[in-house]
Every structure is written in C-alpha cells, then in structure tokens.
Point group: C2
Chain length 144, copies 2
Amino acid sequence: MADLTFRVKAHSENPTKTIAKARGFEVVIDEPVEMGGTNAGPNPIEYLLATLAGCLNVMGHTIAKEMNMNLNGLKINISGILNPDKFSGVDTDERAGLKQINVEIIPDTDADEATLEKWLATIENRCPVKDNLSNPTPVHISIK
Amino acid sequence: MADLTFRVKAHSENPTKTIAKARGFEVVIDEPVEMGGTNAGPNPIEYLLATLAGCLNVMGHTIAKEMNMNLNGLKINISGILNPDKFSGVDTDERAGLKQINVEIIPDTDADEATLEKWLATIENRCPVKDNLSNPTPVHISIK
C-alpha cells in the first residue's frame, strides 16, 4: 500500500497553551498551573500516553477480529515516569522524556491465556504508536 | 528533582473510539470513517504529532526566556509519513509506525539566525516528546 501522510498545524495561544488542528479537529494542549501553565487541557506527556491507549484499542480490536477472538471492550491504564531535570535545564544524565511506560490492558473477553498471549504479541508487533515509542524515529525540525 | 509519574485511564467506547482520562480532562481518540472508524476525534497518529507540537511550544518559550530571546508566539506545522502495510497485517519490511516526522517552526521573533540556531538546538536537546520519538523508550505491556 502507498505511504500515508498525516498533518497537524499548530499555534501557541500562550507560552504553554497550544492549539493543534488535524482535519476538522482541534486539540488543546497546556500545562497545569503548578508547571507554570494555564491548565486548558492535558499536557504533552498525558497526550502521549492517551494516544498510545487509543492505538492499542484500535489494534486490539482489529487483531481480535482477525483471530476470531471475542472482545467486548477494553480498559487500558498507562503510567509513565519522567525525571524533570533535563527539560528544566539542570545538568543531568537523565533523559528528557519518559524513561519507562507501563501499560495494563484489561480486555472483556472469554479468550484463554494462550490466545491472549498471541493477541498481545501481535498488538505489540503492529501498533504504530507503540513502534514510534519503542524504536527511534527520525524527527527533522527546521525554522522557517 | 524527583521523578514524576503521569497517568492515563482509558476505555473503548467502540472498536476504534477510545476515551482517555488524564486528571480532569477527557481525550477522545477515533479513526476516520475511511479507516473503519466513527470519526469522533483525531486518530492516534494525529495526536502523536499534536503532542509534539505542544511540547515544542512549551520548550520553545521556556528556552527563549532563558536566552532573553524575544518570542511573541509560534506556529508549528508537522507532517508524518507512515506505511499502512504493517498495521494492516501485510507481510512487509516496513515499520508499523511513522518512518519520518518533519517539523517546521515559524517563530514570531526578532532574533538573529545564530540565536535561533542555538535556540532550536536547545529545544531539540530538552524537549521530552522529541526525546521519546527520537530515542527508544521501554514500553512494558501486561494483560490483567
């Protein structure tokens, strides 16, 4: 299949609040007041975890269907651990972003354990957002 | 500084639509109709690009302030290229996720080119979401 291109156009409403537009949708990103923001929406790291949940849901259902596995729904709990030193400008060996992401999937299903293991392995192999987090992606940034 | 933990709790409303909750906020993720979805919100890849924009905005303003660089605002255009074969289940050498992300930052500033180059290099070094996309992050997934 041919490559797909996804596009987002964003602008700052203030130093922490960003409005990002994708097709007809508007995404409001901000920082909480205790991080110096105006708390108009989730912060970037929360969106990063939310979009992983969204991708796992789509892939979970797609792959269950392929496997003829009964799946009535899913709950997904995600946590991510980040040390704030690097983005705050402290001299540190810590990385800037999340150093660990933990995901718990709670499927509403009657599938047995072996089926669920195969299902999860296939999700992990084919989920785009999981891939972009687990593996390096070239990000080219230029100033116009 | 101590590590921070970010948390998101999500559930599927249907096979493509996910509601993710972060603090008091709700994020609605879906797929467009042509991707088999119900188009209730941006899709995971669009959110991934939007959250990168949000993070670049916060870091852009934070670092401009540190550098005493005048920054009235920012526009950010992001595109990402993805081949749909892997997530669709086609046998392929393509990766599952975005293989390239291109970002154009349009700052409203009177800073000179050398200052802008230093500004961008510092953003790239310290932006958490940029780090999580450019470098591998351990993602541990379990079924409960």
